[in-house]
Symmetry: C2
Subunit: 202 residues, 2 copies
């Protein structure tokens, strides 16, 4: 069920304008457009990689494309896996394998409170004509000693949130949607999207 918001006005003109301004975007996946595109993530930063992906998908689709590049920075590993989060270790590893590798690489750091880390997310939206906007978000936590929870994806099962005493894979989706690096970056890019791409309101 969609969430409900009541517009507190008896003025038909205001109501019409606010409805038009808040009209939903149709969110498409690459599959919805039969787009089969592998973008090489050669950037040194999340923003650069997000830009590479947004640009490639915008040019291939002719639509405004929104790309996310995100990853985990672990302080005891000098920021690794960072931009390589999705390609940590050997190519045969899946999400679970990469979590295990991370725990292995932290095995000498036994004090949980020193296993500080943050999820980072960069978002870039681009149109085929080059107009662009971007945002960033971050979420602090600790690397747990073992995976827990089956929500989310990626490193969520080993990312412990002290304030909730749960991993990112254990917290309710509502909580994740409020605090995650991705939701913060998205909250920040939405107004920029609406300002940069007038076509999203027509």
């Amino acid at each position: 069920m969609a969430s409900r918001l009541v517009i507190a006005t008896n003025n038909a003109g205001k109501l019409r304008e606010i409805r038009a301004l808040l009209q939903p975007l149709e969110i498409l996946s690459p599959a919805d457009l039969d787009l089969n595109l592998e973008v090489e993530e050669t950037g040194d930063t999340f923003i650069e990689n997000a830009r590479l992906k947004a640009t490639a998908f915008a040019q291939a689709s002719g639509l405004v494309a929104l790309a996310d590049d995100s990853g985990l920075e672990v302080d005891a590993l000098e920021g690794a896996p960072g931009v390589l989060s999705a390609r940590y270790g050997t190519p045969d590893l899946n999400d679970q394998g990469r979590c295990q590798l991370l725990l292995h690489n932290l095995k000498e750091h036994t004090d949980l409170v020193k296993r500080t880390a943050r999820f980072r997310c960069a978002m870039v939206a681009t149109a085929a004509d080059g107009r662009s906007c971007h945002s960033e978000g971050a979420c602090d936590g600790l690397i747990a000693s073992a995976p827990a929870g089956d929500g989310g994806f990626g490193y969520d099962p080993v990312f412990y949130l002290p304030q909730f005493q749960q991993t990112m894979a254990q917290v309710d989706a509502k909580v994740k949607n409020k605090i995650s690096h991705r939701s913060q970056a998205l909250n920040r890019i939405i107004p920029l999207l609406l300002q940069t791409f007038a076509e999203l309101r027509s």
Copy 2:
């Protein structure tokens, strides 16, 4: 037709999260809820009046309510009609009558470039439990010598935008949606809405 945005990712987890975060709000009018509420606008500022309306509708509906209070400030009239914009002159006046009254009151100011004015908009969103957020937007222009155009409402026909050489009632709706005081306030409140009211994402 809804505007289309492609999410530039082949990662199913990211796609699922971004879709959930961008899910459309169901926008309700007071009529949709059979709410018949007249709120007295006794505040001295746009924000105060928006807060009065948002609070009344949130308490009556139990939902998050978004209120807009907006008006026109004309420098040669020391900021009038301001918060009284919708009640300028006598109660029998309609939008057209109020535009005529404004032109009449400016008849001694014949130099268009000195008839500077701005539309202001304050938005307040409130839940019945008191959580709240707000934003403001403004749009500069000049008061035309005669009404022109039939788009929009209120003072739009006499609000001249030099950069477009048209009144706010003449410009394309896309242009209005990009520059108006209301669209700016709305752009600014959307991320606050999403942060303040987690229920809008569930």
